[in-house]
Point group: C2
Chain length 557, copies 2
């Protein structure tokens, strides 16, 4: 990855953005929704040089042997890499970064070249009581890569050089892939052999295989291809007491799952260096289309029927009415959802009860061979028609595919304008989904208003689902109440706390695919119980007896 080209204060690379040209309704609409002052001052990020950065606490006595182990060119203690590795990419991270508030950067950033160097680094760290933070793409939105505020010296272990697909087994449809490979690196190497991993999280361009596995991520096509847990057949993890290697087998009954312990371990127990992943053949065809449902209930009923059928869609995303309206607001004036809806609503549909206030957009897609895709689409349209779903055609599907990784760029523009914006997600059973939805969205709106953030806007979709239930993903927006990053962090924390309490009380899981990190750690015991916490703590003491691995993550240290 071209490091100089990354936006250290925000998302992605300098040459990309969420293109607002032609999306003329966006800013006026947002100003109306959030009651943003028209005369607001922009709040650009500080420059790198303006950050008051603590000097590295690693002296030559410590650095010289480390450089000997990994090579001179593999250890950085200068400003830019330390700032870039100080945080993940959450709202909370970006408001602190943009304000130049970086009190706890890592003391160095190390780039091991292979698993042997990872093990050498851990041994050096254990000997010298230095904390080690494994870092993939750094796209954590839960504080998963942030050094603990402490006197503990700290090195961030960036896996960027472990970026290869080591081997592909075309017969068994698996591949050994190194942990530091980013989404595009994974896909380019697999595509060349006719395969795909099928894992496309929104962070796809900047997140890595290892990060996905240790946070139990889900890609936008998880319905068709599986959550990362389903795609992971075996792992290698370097722990401070040795390597954990699980057997390359499609299934086993050999006792409690060690693989299941390593997935979701977030660097608490060691560094995942490679995984054997399950592949799919590159689909000959992807046919993604839009559908409109009169109500969220109708859309959910169709969604559930699709998931409980034998149709196996690659993707189903259902936006609630506010998110559907926001899509229309964000769409291009000459094409996109708004234009399409104007056309159809101006016709006979308004009369039939489809209106932007209640309607819900579904993106539904099938991957595969053309005949099979057509057969399944025909049956899927029948399912959707049973719930008054209106077929909008392929253009919406294409525009969703085009923009699928771009939205995080828009956040940087929102932050320039003093907008509070973050996301929350959970999962629950189908029968409990509306209860959790209502608890989650109502609490968010109330908490934003109570925080002084104005009329909160909450946009929700269901995008990862199973025959037995589904996830809920909400983007919430309001106004920042201050120019001080710590005040804004406090505003955010209150909203997060109240909503997370509400999600858990309603029976939702603490997180479906973002993980725990620091931000969810206070609720982990409520999720897994006191005996569960004891299990995780015991494992921490066993695998990382000197406590050097990512201290504080999962509330383990």
């Amino acid at each position: 990855m071209d490091i100089q080209n990354l936006r250290w204060w925000g998302w992605g690379t300098l040459n990309q953005s969420f293109d607002l040209k032609g999306r003329t309704a966006f800013w006026p609409g947002l100003e109306r929704m959030l009651e943003l002052p028209r005369d607001r001052e922009l709040r650009p990020p500080v420059t790198l040089e303006e950050i008051n950065l603590r000097p590295s606490r690693l002296d030559a006595r410590l650095l010289t042997p480390l450089r000997r182990l990994l090579g001179e060119e593999a250890i950085f203690t200068d400003r830019r890499p330390r700032v870039e590795h100080a945080y993940g990419k959450s709202y909370r991270d970006l408001i602190r970064l943009r304000a130049g508030y970086v009190p706890h950067p890592p003391d160095a950033v190390a780039y091991p070249a292979d698993e042997g160097q990872v093990a050498a680094l851990l041994a050096w760290a254990a000997d010298n009581d230095v904390a080690v933070i494994p870092f993939g793409g750094g796209s954590s939105v839960l504080g998963g890569v942030e050094p603990q505020p402490s006197d503990h010296r700290c090195v961030t272990l960036d896996l960027a050089r472990l970026d290869r697909v080591l081997s592909v087994d075309p017969v068994s449809r698996t591949a050994r892939i190194q942990a530091g490979a980013t989404g595009p690196e994974v896909e380019a190497q697999l595509n060349a052999q006719g395969f795909t991993l099928g894992h496309f999280p929104q962070s796809f361009e900047f997140s890595t295989l290892g990060g996905w596995v240790v946070t139990r991520a889900a890609g936008q096509n998880s319905i068709g291809y599986g959550k990362i847990e389903d795609l992971t057949q075996a792992v290698r993890v370097v722990t401070p007491i040795g390597v954990v290697e699980t057997r390359d087998t499609p299934a086993t009954a050999a006792g409690p799952s060690i693989l299941g312990l390593m997935m979701g371990s977030e660097g608490s127990y060691g560094v995942l260096t490679e995984a054997t992943m399950r592949l799919h053949p590159l689909p000959k065809m992807q046919d993604y289309r839009g559908l409109l449902f009169r109500t969220f209930d109708d859309g959910l009923a169709a969604f559930r029927d699709l998931m409980q059928s034998t149709l196996h869609p690659a993707i189903v995303r259902l936006s609630d009415p506010p998110e559907t309206a926001a899509y229309a607001l964000m769409s291009h004036q000459h094409h996109g959802l708004r234009r399409l809806l104007d056309k159809v609503l101006a016709g006979y549909l308004g009369l039939r009860g489809y209106g932007l206030d209640d309607s819900c957009l579904m993106i539904l897609g099938f991957d595969g061979d053309p005949d099979d895709v057509e057969h399944r689409w025909n049956r899927a349209l029948e399912v959707c028609r049973d719930h008054r779903g209106l077929h909008l055609g392929r253009s919406i599907g294409r525009s969703w595919q085009r923009d699928r990784f771009a939205q995080p760029y828009l956040r940087d523009d929102l932050l320039d304008n003093g907008v509070l914006v973050d996301t929350l997600e959970t999962a629950t059973t189908w029968s409990n989904l509306l209860s959790v939805y209502e608890a989650m969205t109502a609490t968010l709106k109330n908490a934003i208003a109570a925080s002084g953030g104005g009329p909160g806007t909450v946009l929700t979709h269901v995008s990862h689902a199973y025959p037995y239930g589904a996830s809920l993903y909400s983007t919430f927006l309001g106004r920042q109440t201050s120019r001080d990053p710590l005040d804004n962090q406090e505003q955010w924390r209150t909203i997060k706390r109240e909503t997370t309490d509400a999600i858990l009380a309603a029976g939702g899981t603490l997180t479906h695919h973002h993980g725990i990190g620091r931000d969810h750690a206070p609720w982990l015991e409520e999720e897994i119980g006191p005996v569960g916490m004891k299990v995780l703590r015991t494992l921490k003491q066993t695998l990382d007896p000197t406590g050097i691995m990512n201290p504080g993550i999962l509330l383990l240290s």
Copy 2:
């Protein structure tokens, strides 16, 4: 379950058997294959009264408070229940039982009525240093329910009274089911509401939900419905330090999987009392048919194509040539595979290269709505034709379905005749499957011959599969070398040891669905590594600090 009706020395109930009437080729064929002496003496089991049973080591000081906790009628110290709970149902178990060799029976058998009584029993056991062995249906074939030879007093905790489906959520397609429910009890209660769990192991009639989950079992329809891990959404486990309850959610990213630790834990950490299971609607149609392939390679290629397609069969079983020949041998003289093959082979097929020496029988089945099943069958037949698969029609499918749970009864007849008979299973990737197959079957044959067991017969099938690999399941037969159970155990142990070594060396997993128990425990470290073993031992110390739970299982105590 009607306890008086159970064959304590063998499989199942007294009123059932594997009906050999009309299967006239069976005994002559077996005698030829194994070179069994025609003048052999039968070796019937001893009577219950002939067993020299150690008196219970629990005195009134211990029993009185236990009876107070669970009720007088819930605690048994008499002969029959203690013998019935002394072993599982492996070959090794039955040769010892039939010879009356029961040196380590449990001191009592307890039947708690609910989870509260389970917890009370564990507290009593911890206070009094009594070992507790959770017992579902007792069909373990790996020594999973056998008391450890030690001075440790021991109570077997039979879950038979926890036999209810507590609730069904038809919207989310899940059900809370108590651990002690047997297969028929689970299915009867679910079928009444239009659902099935879809889990049909060969032990179905006598094994329980809890046993399935803690041994990571697989049913005969695991291809269509999932292995038990895939069907388990949440569990409750009473450990000596408290209850572990995992959240009822279709997926989560909340850290390492506690659920994955409890599945496969075989009573080492606690007693699984209930689980929330994923259901399927009762299929409107089951269409199971036979196919014949010219070679094992052809059959495997078709099997892999089916698994890597989007056809989603409910069941695929491919027998290797020896197992195919054995099916023919076992079939009824007037119907069944032999008769069918005689008909087709007498025709033109022999000329085309299908002969019983090389041919492989596949049972392939689809469950679902008639239209969908027909559509998928048509496509499946195309896949099979690509590999020269010959469609044998539905009668073979029906006869397989009819006999699917009966074969263990046949074992009792074989044991009467001094036959060594056991099964082994593993799993690996598709690309490695033939290597493991060859290592496994060759080692078995050699080891049987070397043990003095005569020309060993090994019958193998592939019956649980994934897009990424498959399991192998071998039944091996030979002659017992002695009338002494310990000699026969030693013969068995040598064969088991050599073959398990060979499976692991070839890259197969130690077990795909039988579990670990005592018999696989010596190889667990080779499977999961020294760090993995350390993890399991640490968890044991944490969850069961006084070491009362099923000591010795998983090599943990």
